[in-house]
Symmetry: C3
């Protein structure tokens, strides 16, 4: 290529090549195309930009810290325990105030258990016996409470009895409570402090920050009218989750306290506020064997001779899971360009669809097909224009 050639090449580099269009004076297809354009534009503006806010850069990696504190006391007077007052250290497990905590509402205490031998409870198939050979010494009772000693214990002259076992004796009684011990737990309160941070935008906030009034935090209660108070009455939380507190206190269950931070950081920071909602996480309508929530724990003591004994507690209660979710958005040029670009690309799909209508469906399709497709064929160097069947 000579110097002139290079110059031509360089000049042609800045020629602008634009697609040649055929204007089809067909009002139907024209209208269809404009309608498609309009829907894509509407979709872009309304859905992509206004609803989804796709012009924003999104941070979903919320850093959250939850600190909870339960308050309240309850008084009980039972034959087993006598007069007793329950405070936070007694009924909240674990006590550290994390995002998952358990409030005991009912308790079956089996006091003064010691390592020893006693009869296995009735109703456990593997613990039933009619003679000593049914209780192989050293074997543990399947789904039972201890290890068989080799003796079959029969009361009076019954033919069937239960194996003697080595266990923590006496065994827990099987009686189910008919009403919750800590009925008053309904009036306990939970104070939830939630600190969040969106690392991408270096934005921090707390759900307790906006209250500069110390007394407000001392006396307020969360309600539909008071949506920024972070103190929740237990009974109300359970009711908002669609359950009755006294029902739930009896058998136990799991309540989710959801905190949602959905922040538009293009607006003022004071408009970034949490929304709370509550639901029951476990399903109360499952089979009876799996309903409710309870667990066993023990407190260990020593008698003056140094022998260990324990109080076994079967605690029923409500577990609260504080679950924090959130995302923040802020205007950013890159997602804006991408979304406008892909919206325009969608217009191409609209044109593709209208072309199909123009070339294959309407009456004068053959005419438009000939105009749209300019056929070229290499015959010497003559150009032949010819109509024909031409799929897109």
């Amino acid at each position: 290529m000579g110097q002139a050639g290079w110059k031509g090449l360089f000049q042609s580099l800045f020629d602008y090549k634009t697609e040649k269009y055929v204007v089809a004076k067909n009002k139907k297809v024209g209208l269809l195309y404009r309608l498609l354009q309009l829907s894509i534009l509407l979709y872009l503006v309304v859905w992509v930009f206004l609803v989804k806010k796709s012009y924003q850069d999104i941070d979903t990696s919320l850093q959250s810290a939850v600190v909870t504190k339960v308050k309240g006391v309850a008084y009980t007077n039972t034959t087993a325990l006598g007069e007793r007052l329950w405070d936070v250290a007694d009924y909240v497990v674990p006590s550290q105030g994390e995002n998952v905590f358990f409030v005991v509402t009912n308790l079956i205490v089996t006091p003064n258990q010691r390592q020893g031998t006693c009869a296995e409870r009735e109703g456990i198939p593997d613990g039933m016996c009619s003679q000593d050979s049914d209780c192989r010494a050293g074997e543990s009772v399947i789904a039972g409470h201890g290890v068989k000693t080799g003796h079959c214990l029969r009361v009076g002259n019954l033919t069937r009895g239960t194996c003697e076992i080595f266990a923590w004796c006496p065994l827990e009684t099987q009686s189910r409570p008919t009403e919750p011990l800590l009925k008053e737990a309904e009036n306990f309160t939970i104070f939830i402090k939630n600190f969040i941070r969106f690392p991408k935008f270096n934005f921090s906030k707390a759900n307790v920050g906006q209250m500069d009034n110390r007394d407000f935090l001392k006396s307020c209660r969360f309600s539909s009218k008071n949506r920024y108070c972070p103190i929740f009455r237990l009974g109300s939380v359970v009711r908002w989750a669609g359950n009755d507190f006294q029902d739930m206190a009896l058998e136990g269950g799991v309540i989710g306290i959801h905190i949602e931070w959905n922040c538009d950081l293009d607006k003022d920071a004071s408009e970034c506020n949490p929304h709370y909602y509550f639901n029951r996480l476990d399903n109360k309508h499952t089979t009876s064997v799996s309903s409710g929530y309870n667990f066993r724990f023990a407190r260990y003591y020593r008698d003056p001779d140094g022998v260990e004994f324990r109080n076994l507690m079967k605690a029923y209660g409500i577990r609260f899971d504080v679950i924090v979710n959130g995302k923040a958005g802020k205007f950013s040029i890159i997602p804006t360009v991408i979304n406008v670009g892909s919206g325009l690309a969608l217009m191409g799909a609209g044109a593709f669809f209208c072309d199909l209508v123009l070339i294959y469906i309407i009456k004068k399709r053959e005419f438009y097909r000939d105009k749209k497709y300019e056929e070229v064929r290499l015959v010497g160097l003559t150009l032949m224009v010819q109509g024909g069947w031409s799929p897109a």
Copy 2:
């Protein structure tokens, strides 16, 4: 503009403009384009729609509640502890039945520790001494157990000894166990209740819901044949995770119990079932100093004089992390349109590639280039058609 002009403008608004194509009767490039079209179509149909199900709206923000319950007893007879039976309240820490729990399989008990003075353990560099001045009073032993009192304790007439320290005495013995104390933990069972909810579709399910038979839940065990039973034998879980239970019981470790909910809500709710899999989360082949899993805790007592003493427990065991993942999909028009649209946009890339072949690679490229690019130049108002070098 006159009235006629506005009318023309309005009419031309509904003219349909379609791109003009040049039909190149070149079978090679034509075939190439059809192949590209076919692959994009295949990719769209097979990968995007059938495999990835991109026509669905996806909810990945699973709400999950896990309730666990371990069952089983173990009997031990050691010189240190005598005959002893272990039940759930003894070996599960924490006891609340959350998604992370620890089953003690081995225990080194240091009973009756009291605040007092004793000799630091040997083998701790900072605790070694040959004279009193090596033990600065009030300084704590680095990586040791207490605070130096200022005396160097030497046994007999050895020249080297260890500092006297103020600590919980006697100190824990360093002997490592050679076999697990609670070997029988292999037969313990875990009952895992998992309740999930996909908030976007308001769909709830539990892994225990489908069993209407109460007896089934009492006796079943999870296995490859019985994939919907939520009761797991500890030994089997460890084996499925690729480990030997007795090995792991000795040193401890962390096992992940993964529950995956992958639900197609276009199908029936009964087809949305969890899949379980198990793996070991900690790496057993790390350096010896960091292998295994153990922690220390204490039980505090008072003697009749009111002086506090404690039993220090170094517990080895297996931590189980129940990890729930999931997503649900349901047909939605918006992702369907988006995905079809961007599939069609990909065809444009195919055409771009074929154009490059047509214009720059094949033999008759110059001819096609002239036909594709219609050059216009402003000379007065004459139109000049001219061939030339024209990059795309």
Copy 3:
């Protein structure tokens, strides 16, 4: 259609149809288009490929297990507790070594509380009284410590007093500490073992794996020079989080220890290393009522007569949340094709913009408009070429 017709149809199926372009010898628009092309190319190469690595398949579903172990002892000598040595079992709650743990730095002990009656603390509005009728028997004191017995206790001949309550007596004193009890906690260390796995790529790694030297792990400390040592001094962690340890020890707080795994699995596995950073998760500048971190727990004892009593502890301290994040990427053909495709589709948007300039903005727009839009009209079968107003 005859046999010839089918043959023609089949042949035309492999005709290649390429868009016809009009070459506009307008250097300004040409330059604009080339600039747009260049920016899109740059965006594709630099942002999409080099920065975002969009040619990779991404796994964000990190499986992580964290095992922590705190070490260190502290000596205190107070009038309330006498000489006392604190070790791990005393000051870490919970003791299991999970990813969230609490180190007690300050403690208010209320020893020997028993169920009984005493006066409510002053300063609680609902507990104040001037006569017995102000204290309705059986009612619990709002925000107080027990249940009213019906008596109003007045000291000497004051007119105002507090109600007598049934509670755990004596009550906790309200005095706030002025300096932390466990000042020495600053020198405690945390050993964090973190095991991760990217399930999609079946890639596992630990933050302790690379140290084959056992002694290194025994003596190293994490610092800016030693970024792979997983042992952290408490005081340093708090300092890196931007706080003073002694300040924080007094009132308590929450520190986040973030571990980030950002792995490019196209590189060698040894280049996949964690990055640590630290911040304070709770906000210390909130209202005084909600600052700090403390909780109450109790240790229960029995006296020789079997009567229960407890030591109530109000623990202030620092909660450490170990938060693991991560993602891994590996080359994959599908995201590469998608991203190249949508980059090319963006070029269409560039052409659209340049067309607008060519047809509506530049001087010779009418000329180019006529060339770009070839108007066809159905008059018999004659073709009329005509200029006019034609929006894109």
